[in-house]
Symmetry: C2
Subunit: 307 residues, 2 copies
C-alpha cells in the first residue's frame, strides 16, 4: 500500500443476516419509507414524525415531479427535513434521499377530478409506476429489511403503523385507506372509502381482461367498467378487529408494507399492461408470479387528505 | 441544533444531471459492473483490470451463491479485491459490494453438462434471475449512469469494452460471446459460438409460445425445441465491421451494457415465464414493453471460459 489513504471500504453483506420478523424493532430491522410526492402536505409530515418506530432505523426516499407544483412541494419538504435532521442524533432519520424527476408529468394539473378521469388513467398510472420504480431501484440497499410505500397525501395513521403491519409477517400488506370529510347531510364529521386498488379478483374482471387487447388495462372504480371485484374498502366492519387479514389480488400504494426481499426478487411496478393490470395492482400480480402473496387489513385504517 | 454532530446528509439528486452519452469518459459517467459469480477465474479478474475505463468511475457488485464452490470463489475474489483496492487512489474501483446469497443454489453442481440440461433450465434460470435482481436492486444508486452485466466466466474482452458498447448510444447492447478452444481436427487454436441468448425472434418461436401453458418457457439451443430464431452468434462475419448493429428480441447476460434508466423504469429479470421468456431473455422483452429496444454487435467479440 504505497499511499497514505486507507483503501476504500469493500462492503460484504450476508443476505441471511437480514431478517424481516414480527418484531422488527427488537431485531433492529431497517425500514425504507418511499413516497412519490407531487404535493406537500404538512399533515403528512406531522404524521410521519408521529410514527414511533425508531427513526434511526428509518430511511426516507422521495421522488418529486418536474412541475411547478413539484418545485413548491420540494421547497416545503426540504424545510421540514432540515428541521428534523437537525434534531439530536436519536431523533433523526438514518438518511434521506430526494430524487427530482427529469421527465415531465403526463398531466398538467394534479387536481383530483383531472387525475381520476378514466381517459387519463393509463398514462398517469404508467408514469407513477416508473416513478415508483426509479425511487425503489435507486434507494433500496443491501441492508433494507422492509419497504413502506406511503403516499404523500396520507395524513393520518396509527403511530404504530410500521410495527402493526409488520406484526402480520406477510410479504405484502396493505392498510385500508379512507378519507375524512364533513358530511353535509348529518352536519358532522364522517369518513368515506378512498383507495379502491386493494381488491380480491372476480370472474367478471378476469373475463373482461381475457377479451381485451394486450395493452389494455382494467381499472377499478369506474362505472363504465364494472369489475365486480371485492374491494377491501367495503370489507371494513364497524368495530371490527383491526388485526383481521384478507388475501388480496390487487393492492394500492397508499400505505403498503413490503418485505424488501419481494422487491429484490424482481417485483416492481409494471408501467405496461401486466395481466391487464398496471402499477401497484400489477405489482401484486407480479409478486404473486414470484410466489409472494398480498394481504390487506380491512379494519386497520389510514386516512387520505381531502382536497 | 443542540448537539455537536452535523446533521446527516440529505442527498438531493437531479435525475436530469445524469447522462448516458456516446462519450461516457468525457462526461464522467459512472458504470456499475454487476457479476453473478459462482466460480472465480483469475482470467476474469485480470481482464476486468485490463479495462481502460477510469476505475474511479466504476463500482463493482457481485452476488455469490451459498454453496461450497461459492465460498471458495468468495475467498479468491476477496484476495484480488483487497489487492486492487490497496493501489493508489486513481487505480482503485470507486466501490465494491459483495452479496452473499441466503438461498441454496437449485443445482448441486455447476458443471457445464449439468447446468445445460433442459430439465434443469427453468429452475436454474429462475434462480439466476432472482440473483441478478437482488444484485441490481441493492447496488444501483441515484448516480449510476450505466450498468454493465459481465458474467464471471468472461475472460477476454477488448480493453475498451465499456466505451465501445456505450459509443452506440443504445438502451441495451450486447457483445457477441464466443469461446476459444483447441480444435483437435486442425490441431490449432480455434473459437466457437457460446451465448445463444442473443437472438432475433422467429414465427416458429412465437407459435411455440402461443401453444404453451402459461408457465412454460422457450429455451434457445436445444434440439428438442427448435425455434428457428436468428441467433447473433451465427451473424458473425469473418473480418466483419465490429461496429455493425443488429436489433435483438432476446439478450444474454454475458457482456451486456444497459442504460441505468432502463432498469430504473422497472426492467428487471423475470424469474417467471414472461411471454414464455425468462431471465435475460425475458428482460429484453420487458424492456421492450417499457419502450426500450435491444441491440447486439455480431462482430464485436468477447470470450467465455472453456471448462
Ligand atoms: N413523483 C411523482 N409523484 C406523483 C406524481 N403524481 C402523483 N404523485 C404522488 O403519488 C402519490 C399518488 O398519487 P395521487 O395523485 O395522490 O393518486 P390518487 O390519490 O390515487 O389520486 C401521491 O403521493 C402523489 O403526491 C408524479 O407525476 N410524480
Ligand atoms: N450468484 C449466483 N451466480 C451464479 C449462480 N449460478 C451461476 N452463476 C453465475 O452466473 C453467470 C452465468 O452462469 P453460468 O453457469 O456461467 O451460465 P452459462 O455460461 O450460460 O452456463 C456466471 O457468472 C456464473 O458464475 C448462482 O446460483 N448464484
Ligand atoms: Mn392520493
Ligand atoms: Mn457462463
Amino acid at each position: 500500500n504505497n499511499n497514505n489513504n486507507p483503501p476504500p471500504e469493500v462492503v460484504h453483506y450476508y443476505m441471511s443476516n437480514l431478517t424481516t420478523s414480527r418484531d422488527p424493532i427488537a431485531n433492529q430491522e431497517t425500514v425504507l419509507i418511499l413516497t412519490p410526492l407531487a404535493r406537500f402536505y404538512q399533515e403528512y409530515w406531522d404524521n410521519l414524525l408521529s410514527l414511533n418506530y425508531p427513526r434511526s432505523l428509518i430511511s426516507l426516499g422521495f421522488i418529486i415531479p418536474k412541475t411547478k407544483e413539484g418545485s413548491q412541494a420540494y421547497a416545503l419538504l426540504q424545510a421540514q427535513i432540515t428541521k428534523t435532521q437537525s434534531l439530536p442524533k436519536g431523533k433523526r432519520f438514518a438518511s434521506v434521499t430526494i430524487l427530482r424527476q427529469d421527465t415531465e408529468s403526463p398531466l398538467q394539473t394534479q387536481n383530483e377530478a383531472e387525475r381520476h378521469k378514466i381517459s387519463n388513467q393509463k398514462v398517469r398510472r404508467a408514469a407513477m409506476a416508473k416513478a415508483r420504480n426509479s425511487l425503489l431501484f435507486t434507494t433500496m440497499g443491501p441492508t433494507t429489511s422492509w419497504v413502506l410505500w406511503l403516499d404523500a397525501d396520507i395524513i393520518e395513521t396509527p403511530p404504530t403503523l410500521i410495527q402493526d403491519l409488520a406484526s402480520h409477517d406477510k410479504p405484502i400488506i396493505a392498510a385500508n385507506c379512507f378519507q375524512r370529510f364533513h358530511n353535509p347531510e348529518t352536519n358532522s364529521p364522517d369518513s368515506r372509502v378512498y383507495d379502491l386498488n386493494n381488491w380480491v379478483d372476480s370472474p367478471t374482471a378476469k373475463e373482461l381482461g381475457a377479451k381485451m387487447g394486450k395493452d389494455d388495462i382494467l381499472l377499478e372504480g369506474y362505472g363504465e367498467m364494472p369489475t365486480y371485484r371485492s374491494l377491501m374498502v367495503w370489507m371494513k366492519e364497524d368495530g371490527g378487529d383491526p388485526g383481521k387479514e384478507v388475501e388480496l389480488d390487487g393492492v394500492g400504494g397508499t400505505a403498503l408494507l413490503v418485505k424488501a426481499e419481494v422487491h429484490r426478487d424482481g417485483a416492481m411496478f409494471p408501467a405496461f399492461a401486466f395481466y391487464h393490470l398496471i402499477e401497484t395492482e400489477g405489482f401484486a400480480k407480479m409478486a404473486r408470479r414470484l410466489g409472494w402473496k398480498s394481504w390487506g387489513l380491512p379494519n386497520y385504517l389510514v386516512y387520505h387528505y381531502n382536497e
